[in-house]
């Protein structure tokens, strides 16, 4: 009897193990989280001397562990310690890992004393309507885009990669909306809304991509908050909640 139970247990464990090995990893999608700045590139500075790069990393690590705990997604960070990573390298990490979603974490800065609150950005192509339409058409219809990789890209493919985000603006705006909504609900930060700007980090990312400015490090009150575990956890939870809603709505993709 005892041996039978052990045998059954071993069998179940083996099945779970095999299913995880063979089925799961093939389907498992990757979320890429990008802790903004790092190394010599310190980002914005607070009045008390705190640096943006040292805020974005712990929030990203917290977000990673929440996603891994609650969802069956693989999470890749563009950096996991205080190092310089070029903007191109960051989008390459997303594309090489075939990211399903890309989230860049930042802390904001502004000359105005009263600047405060969270905001979520997605890419603005900074193009005329006609150019934007053409670019989106080319990106949406370039099936080769996902097949060409590594060092054998010709000039045209380089251009396509360079503006890969043009094909994902609708999903990116949906993701931005959902994350911003959660930030507004969960945090007592003023709603600064979803915005668009021509961010270098987002242009080459070939998947839905957003940049979250969690709070203003240039505002002394928010700088203090940004340093606390509680606030960092709340922010990570809010971003997670928005992401989870997005994933729910886009499961069939």
């Amino acid at each position: 009897m005892r041996i039978k139970i052990i045998k059954a247990a071993v069998l179940i464990l083996a099945l779970v193990f095999v299913s995880r090995l063979s089925v799961f990893p093939q389907d498992q999608k990757t979320i890429v989280i990008d802790p903004g700045h790092g190394g010599l590139e310190v980002g914005a500075k607070g009045k008390f001397g705190n640096l943006e790069k040292n805020i974005t990393l712990p929030i990203s690590l917290k977000l990673k562990s929440i996603i891994e705990r609650k969802l069956a997604y693989r999470v890749v960070l563009t950096r996991d310690r205080d190092v310089d990573v070029s903007l191109e390298r960051r989008s390459a990490i997303a594309n090489n890992n075939k990211a399903f979603v890309f989230i860049s974490i930042h802390a904001n800065g502004y000359p105005g004393r009263n600047a405060h609150g969270s905001e979520t950005y997605f890419l603005n192509l900074n193009a005329t309507d006609e150019e934007a339409r053409r670019l989106a058409y080319v990106e949406n219809n370039s099936t080769e885009l996902s097949q060409v990789a590594g060092e054998h890209q010709d000039d045209i493919m380089m251009i396509l990669w360079d503006m890969a985000q043009a094909a994902y603006l609708k999903q990116s705006s949906q993701l931005a909306e959902l994350i911003q909504h959660e930030l507004n609900t969960l945090l007592r930060t003023r709603n600064r809304g979803v915005k668009q700007a021509p961010f270098k980090i987002l242009t080459g990312v070939a998947c839905p991509a957003v940049l979250v400015e969690v709070a203003f490090i240039s505002n002394p009150d928010e700088e203090r908050k940004l340093l606390t575990e509680n606030f960092q956890n709340d922010v990570a939870e809010a971003i997670y909640a928005g992401l989870a809603k997005y994933l729910e709505r886009n499961l069939d993709r």
Partner: protein, 202 residues
């Protein structure tokens, strides 16, 4: 030394003096950007003549919002357009007259302006544009479009602005806004302007 050899030498010396005098006094071209707003009329009767000017709009920042706040200035129009653009950016660097916050970092200098026939103007700033910049997305957006918006707004021949630093292309100021392409203006950032959060997506 005999007089035969002295004559050509004296003649040469006199010619040199004439040339020097002509060099400093001659020339029909107007001087670029004279530093007063009034000039003596060409009739020489001592009548004071106003130089032609036009009103341009610059943008500064506020403590109370994240928008670009317009301020008007007068610039001279009797000088080449490239110098009018320089005047415009110099006025921007000089700062607000109404307690507005400067969108450009302290000590930033304008180095050069280059026009292209395609409507793209290259504006080259000193390295303080990023070294003294406070960083942060909101601040970078404000800086970049406080440079781009007035040039497109005030000069018909300019459609896009390419920002250079120390004569070369820079990827971003401090990690945010893409400076590797010539930029279109963002008039939706101006106070009172329609904030286009969600333009029609293709």
């Amino acid at each position: 030394m005999d007089t035969k050899r002295l004559v050509p030498l004296v003649a040469l010396f006199l010619l040199l003096i004439v040339l020097v005098v002509l060099f400093f006094t001659g020339g029909k071209e107007k001087r670029l950007a004279p530093d007063t707003s009034v000039a003596v009329s060409e009739s020489g009767e001592g009548v004071i003549e106003e130089r032609p000017t036009k009103t341009i709009v610059l943008y500064f920042l506020s403590d109370n919002d994240y928008r670009l706040h317009p301020e008007e200035r007068e610039i001279f129009t009797d000088i080449p357009e490239v110098d009018q653009v320089k005047q415009t950016l110099e006025e921007l660097l000089n700062g607000s007259l109404n307690d507005g916050l400067s969108p450009l970092p302290e000590e930033t200098r304008l180095r050069e302006i280059f026009f292209t026939p395609s409507g793209v103007v290259y504006v080259d700033f000193s390295r303080e544009l990023y070294l003294n910049h406070m960083s942060g997305s909101a601040a970078e957006i404000a800086t970049v479009f406080a440079i781009v918006n007035p040039l497109v707004r005030n000069f018909e021949s300019i459609q896009r602005v390419f920002i250079l630093v120390e004569g070369t292309e820079r990827e971003t100021l401090n990690g945010h806004i893409d400076l590797t392409r010539p930029l279109l203006p963002r008039f939706d950032l101006i106070v009172g302007g329609l904030l286009k959060n969600f333009p029609e997506l293709p």
